[in-house]
């Protein structure tokens, strides 16, 4: 369970998170929508401790992320995150990209890590690209590799930060299909996205962020069908 309690975060004078309260249960798929600068991506990087917070707390399975003495490297093993940029390690093949962290961080044997990497890469449809370098692949393939790389750590939660935003339109589908597949398998996911159709399909709940505040959170039928918040109505009208 991820518990977010009254979280505040500022970059200099700009307050990007103004007291966010949110709980994500095991097995839940939560999508976060909202305009740019609404704080939704910042929240994700706060959850895995890449960003510090200025108030409140975030607790992942009983561990306070930002408490002194929290082993962030250990905590991050259970929080897989995939970013907008594909962030492939360009000097390693696809297989090596996925094997690196399990071998170096989890201490798995090469054989163990390779079996896991092949399984995850096959799962996301890259079983035939094992020995290829990332630069030889499309953006969609690189992004699926990044997903497999995160999955190879056997995380309990997956965080997706606008993973289709940097993709050519014709490549968005293959990545969303991968996310749909994970959701149907019961993975606990928080997806920051601009893909409204996707959000409507896969989410258990959808949260709308506006200017650092979570303005509305509801199951997709309610949020998209009968939005209450005025800003959400404007936002939905603009994206349709």
């Amino acid at each position: 369970m991820i518990e977010i309690e009254n979280v505040r975060k500022s970059f200099g004078q700009l307050e990007v998170l103004k007291g966010i309260n949110l709980t994500v249960e095991k097995g839940e798929v939560l999508t976060i929508i909202g305009g740019s600068g609404s704080g939704k991506s910042t929240l994700l990087t706060c959850i895995n401790g890449l960003e510090t917070i200025d108030g409140g707390r975030i607790v992942v399975d009983g561990t306070d992320v930002h408490a002194k003495g929290t082993d962030l490297n250990k905590l991050r093993r259970k929080l897989g995150i995939v970013f907008q940029q594909f962030n492939a390690f360009p000097h390693l093949t696809v297989l090596e990209n996925v094997m690196l962290a399990p071998v170096k961080v989890l201490g798995q044997s090469k054989a163990e890590a390779e079996a896991m990497a092949v399984r995850q890469l096959t799962h996301v449809g890259l079983g035939d690209k094992l020995k290829v370098y990332p630069s030889r692949m499309s953006g969609g393939q690189q992004q699926r590799m990044a997903i497999a790389r995160a999955l190879a750590m056997s995380p309990a939660y997956m965080l997706f930060d606008e993973v289709t935003s940097a993709l050519d339109p014709q490549l968005v589908g293959e990545v969303l299909d991968t996310l749909r597949m994970l959701a149907s398998e019961g993975m606990t996911m928080i997806c920051v996205t601009h893909e409204m159709k996707f959000a409507r399909e896969v989410s258990d709940r959808v949260a709308f962020f506006h200017k650092g505040v979570m303005a509305e959170i509801a199951p997709p039928e309610a949020l998209f069908g009968a939005p209450k918040d005025a800003d959400l109505k404007t936002f939905l009208a603009a994206t349709h």
Binding site: F83, Q85, F89, P90, A150
Partner: protein, 216 residues
Amino acid sequence: MFDTALTLADLGFLAKGAAMTLAVTAVSVLAGTVLGILFGVIRNQAGPYWSMPLTFLLDIFRSVPLLIQLVLGNALQSIMKLGWAPFTTSCVVLSLYTAAYCTEIVRGGISSVPATTRRAARSLGMTWWQDMRYIVAPLATRVSLPAWIGLTLGVMKDSALVLWLGLIELLRASQILVTRLQEPLFILLICGAIYFIISFPIARLGGSLERRWSND
């Protein structure tokens, strides 16, 4: 037609000079690179403000002519009664000179690795050190290699200046023979050829490494 007083023993004398050039260069490039990596990482981690003293010190080594550094370094070791041999003094000064340039090369290499790539590595649970070792080091090396090869070749040629401290390296050995045999063109031709023979493999090594890494 072609006549020379150069004997086999003279060639051996030149070879000994070349060995001295190689020794000074090898020690200086090795020590300078290790220091350069250390300083480069420090400068990158500490940020421009905290690394100001280090930056200032390295700027001195980059801007004062090497000859002056060698002479002053030698004077300093003698004032401080360190009792260093000319070889030691030469290597210490040349190492710091190399380190000053290498620091910039390393710093540039590290900053060429995108912050987002490093963030991805840390997100997978890698420690700072693992990120440095498995992501930053290989990527930065690829970017820095051409400049580092250039630095190494430059230091090898600059190392001729240690003759001012009395070391008989390749250029000084050639000068001695020129003075004795009065065949400057021929002897300097051989001297230049030896420099080339030493440099060529280093330059080729750089080229072949670049090719090997170009697949990714």
